[in-house]
């Protein structure tokens, strides 16, 4: 028999809170995701879902426009990467205006990593994290600006996409994602309940 006091224990009032206390970090990260957008390699919107209110709702057409615009902007942000001329030790520090001839070589600010497009965008109300796969598909995650890194969430979303969309034999590549299992697992993971 259960003691009545146990039933009144505030710590056990819902299974969800119990879950949250077991995995505080994962739960906190997952809590702040507003919405997810997936853009195919041609700039078409293939998935859009809202998990929490916080952003304004747009019409389907507006989301399509947004996906296309972002696709273009993403490419431009990569092309405006500052190019640093390779510092040659022989060039004089005090240069005449005529010395501004284009140098033959240049390097990027972080030579170790390839130039990428926009990876994270911050505004006053939300943060947008963009992850581009090797095949060109882009995952856009809209989260709370105060939350920390969303790498964990992004990796999990990608994993779910690989498992339930790419492995679905009926899914046509580059077409809108209509996979019930993907929806279900994504919702379960991001909302912290089944």
């Amino acid at each position: 028999m259960l003691h009545p006091d146990w039933l009144l224990d505030p710590r056990l009032d819902s299974p969800r809170d119990e879950l949250a206390s077991c995995f505080p970090v994962a739960f906190q990260l997952a809590r702040t995701v507003f919405s997810l957008i997936i853009i195919n390699k041609a700039g078409g919107l293939i998935y859009q879902r809202e998990f929490q209110a916080g952003l304004r709702k747009l019409s389907t057409n507006d989301y399509l426009v947004l996906a296309g615009t972002f696709h273009g902007v993403h490419a431009i942000t990569r092309s405006i990467t500052p190019k640093l001329p390779l510092a040659s030790n022989t060039s004089p520090a005090v240069s005449s205006p005529g010395a501004n001839t284009p140098t033959t070589g240049y390097s990027y600010p972080n030579p170790g990593t390839p130039a990428s497009g926009l990876e994270s965008l911050e505004t006053e109300k939300f943060r947008l994290t963009c992850f581009q796969t090797l095949t060109g598909t882009k995952f856009l995650l809209f989260t709370d600006p105060t939350s920390g890194t969303v790498d964990t969430v992004m990796n999990k979303v990608y994993e779910l996409y690989a498992d339930y969309v790419m492995k679905n034999p009926f899914y046509q590549l580059e077409m809108p994602v209509r996979c019930e299992a993907f929806d279900r697992h994504l919702g379960a993971w991001l909302r912290g309940r089944t």
């Binding site: 304004r56 902007v73 510092a87 040659s88 600010p109 006053e124």
Partner: protein, 154 residues
């Protein structure tokens, strides 16, 4: 922290000021030379691409976050772009390295302490800048140079 470039756009999408800083050669630092290395005017294309980017992103952010939302900065694997827009739609854009902290306050200071003081309050400075006639003001350029320098060294 390194500042790569700085742009000002007026409300007619005209680039009225641009400046690019190149890092000084690592081995050579002559005492008489300019501290930040030589400056160089970039082609017009860069400014147009930067404007297109911030314009599109601003509109996107306003659609999603509401009219009072504004985008602050974005980061790629190579650089970070900071953005500040005044109530009169003058846009200040700065490109820095990715480790730099938020430059929103700095851009605001450039607007209030330098742009308003030296450009707006200058009776000889044109209000509109048609046809790519930019801000041509020694006092502004010098103090901007100084401002960025103190930021870089800080």
């Amino acid at each position: 922290m390194t500042v790569y470039s700085f742009y000002i756009f007026d409300r007619h999408a005209e680039c009225i000021y641009k400046r690019r800083w190149l890092p000084r050669p690592a081995s050579l630092k002559s005492p008489g030379g300019p501290e930040l290395g030589q400056t160089m005017r970039t082609g017009d294309d860069d400014a147009k691409l930067v404007f297109g980017t911030v314009f599109s992103l601003r509109n996107m952010v306003r659609k999603l976050g509401g009219e009072d939302d504004n985008f602050v900065s974005y980061t790629t694997s190579q650089y970070k772009l900071h953005y500040y827009e005044t109530p009169t739609n003058i846009k200040f854009v700065m490109l820095t390295d990715i480790k730099s902290p938020s430059m929103r306050i700095a851009l605001q200071q450039i607007y209030i302490n330098l742009f308003v003081e030296y450009v707006v309050k200058n009776p000889l400075s044109p209000v509109e800048h048609p046809g790519g006639l930019g801000v041509n003001n020694e006092l502004f350029e010098e103090s901007l140079e100084q401002f960025v320098q103190t930021r870089v060294l800080a």
